[in-house]
Symmetry: C2
């Protein structure tokens, strides 16, 4: 990896967010010249503390991917673009579908147009989502599973993903997409449930308050963020990924209730209550989901390395130490 | 059909275009109160002559589906919306992807939002396209075929289609989508090849000039516009269509070269030349395509009734009579 990234210019959209900032930490270690773009919209995942320790070794550019002018400038001269900025809330996408469309469709298309016109040699790795599969028809879900999004966010992310594949196929702007499942770890948004339900679980646990499990029987898989970062780097480094779509996944499948029990165990204490699923979420719920990630294992030799208990342990430890940077008491 | 549409309020976007105007003629016969929205953008399919004979029995509203304000007003009080306005040029979508996105994604989402807020009882029938399948993996192509669009237009139409299905499923805004194949007949744009290659064939044939066949071996199916109109009406009339996607198709499969021969025969004369496929089109070409339309045959008892030779004959006869309204000599 050092050989691939040392001295190379790398741009991350959403670079102050959860996965983007973890990627930045790793790429700084690898000797890349980093530029991080982030809009720092308070409701999204960006947080300046996420780059604590590497502030002096990255360029931070506060701008929004909807700002075509800044993107046009920033994309130039870059060897790699990790394209992670996105609107991720399913409920928000239903309440304000135009904002979701602007960020997840329009901006993706305009970023790719900028690459085509001003930097066609760039390689782009797009953060897609399992959400576009909708309610699984079979498990585990592989990349050949039909895409049947159940919310506006899923439709727009699907389009955003396809623009990347299209620009690879038609214009040779090398690109690929990783369909992420639930990703967890340090630097995720935990002040509320806007990024992941696990965020608010961790916060309430550390505040000594009971957290809420909605449903509980749903099966899920989880990727620890360091493993997700490794997948992004492997996808960037290899031409085998060009034009491809890869699922990420986890080392185990677990129900939400089992996850809650595990989290309490890892924390050596804590409480939760179970509730039936709220109506506004139920209509866009997807039931059980877990991924078949054998395609990326075959093509890029990726597999998850951090077991779930350790992932939860590291996560809880991080927020126990740094909680004052993630929520106000 | 009279029982369904007589006295009902019906809005058609793209109502001065090819399929929209044919639908308007039929709905006027059926006694519906018609409003036709069209932007009359010169490069698109709208033509005021398309409503010759029914001008006094329809309301024409010149506005663009991107104009959310006019759509908000016009949707109110309607029983049915035939949502046909679209950017249809594959090449244009690659040259100006943002315009395609605005029309085929953003406007669709905003029309559906307007329906949700101001007229949730409306039924919406969306004109989708076979283009979203991309290069077929098997033939004939049924609705379960993977969608793998090969151009920006295909991606955006796919998103537009999915918004309709989503709003049906989540908000009960009854909606469905028809995936059209090549539709032909009177009132299509023939001055150039912007709407369909058959348009410019017909024009050149009637001008006594040779037309160009690119490739020639590609297999295609064709729907005569009256059959397409019938499918839209059946889809509107039945709740069996809600949330569904249906392919349209044709009664025969034919190569482009055979089609050229048939057109010359129907016209009792004419010439064409064959050419290899131009590079800028080849990269977004889909090869052979023809549809399996058994789903709509089962659900709505639709099937094509006008055989291809008759479809071509009626088309040529129409433009022989009315060519001065479709191109300048």
């Amino acid at each position: 990896m050092n050989e691939v990234f040392e001295g190379r210019n790398v741009l991350i959209t959403g670079g102050l967010g959860f996965i983007g900032s973890n990627l930045a930490h790793r790429l700084v270690e690898l000797g890349a010249h980093m530029t991080l773009v982030d809009s720092l919209i308070p409701e999204y995942g960006g947080n300046l503390f996420n780059i604590a320790g590497i502030e002096g070794r990255v360029k931070v550019n506060i701008s929004d991917v909807r700002d075509q002018h800044s993107m046009r400038y920033l994309v130039q001269g870059q060897d790699y673009l990790f394209n992670l900025a996105g609107q991720t809330s399913h409920l928000d996408s239903m309440q304000d579908p135009n904002v979701d469309l602007d960020i997840n469709c329009r901006s993706q298309l305009s970023i790719l147009e900028v690459c085509r016109k001003y930097n066609p040699g760039i390689k782009v790795i797009f953060a897609s989502t399992r959400q576009i599969y909708g309610k699984p028809e079979y498990l585990p879900v592989d990349e050949n599973h039909a895409v049947r999004p159940v919310d506006v966010n899923g439709i727009n992310k699907m389009a955003g993903e396809w623009y990347h594949i299209l620009y690879n196929n038609v214009y040779n702007i090398r690109g690929c997409a990783l369909r992420l499942t639930n990703t967890i770890g340090p630097r995720m948004r935990v002040k509320d449930a806007r990024q992941t339900f696990l965020g608010i679980w961790v916060r309430l646990l550390l505040e000594g308050k009971p957290f809420e499990v909605w449903g509980g029987e749903q099966l899920r898989d989880f990727t620890y963020v360091d493993d997700a970062v490794e997948a992004f780097l492997l996808a960037a480094a290899s031409d085998k990924s060009n034009g491809q779509i890869f699922n990420l996944g986890g080392d185990c499948v677990i129900s939400l209730k089992e996850l809650a029990d595990l989290l309490v165990k890892v924390n050596c204490g804590g409480e939760y209550s179970t509730h039936s699923y709220p109506a506004d979420r139920k209509r866009i719920d997807i039931g059980d989901y877990y991924a078949d990630f054998s395609r990326i294992r075959s093509a890029l030799a990726w597999e998850p390395k951090v077991p779930l208990p350790e992932a939860l342990g590291r996560t809880v430890a991080y927020y126990r130490q740094h909680h004052d940077h993630y929520w106000d008491n």
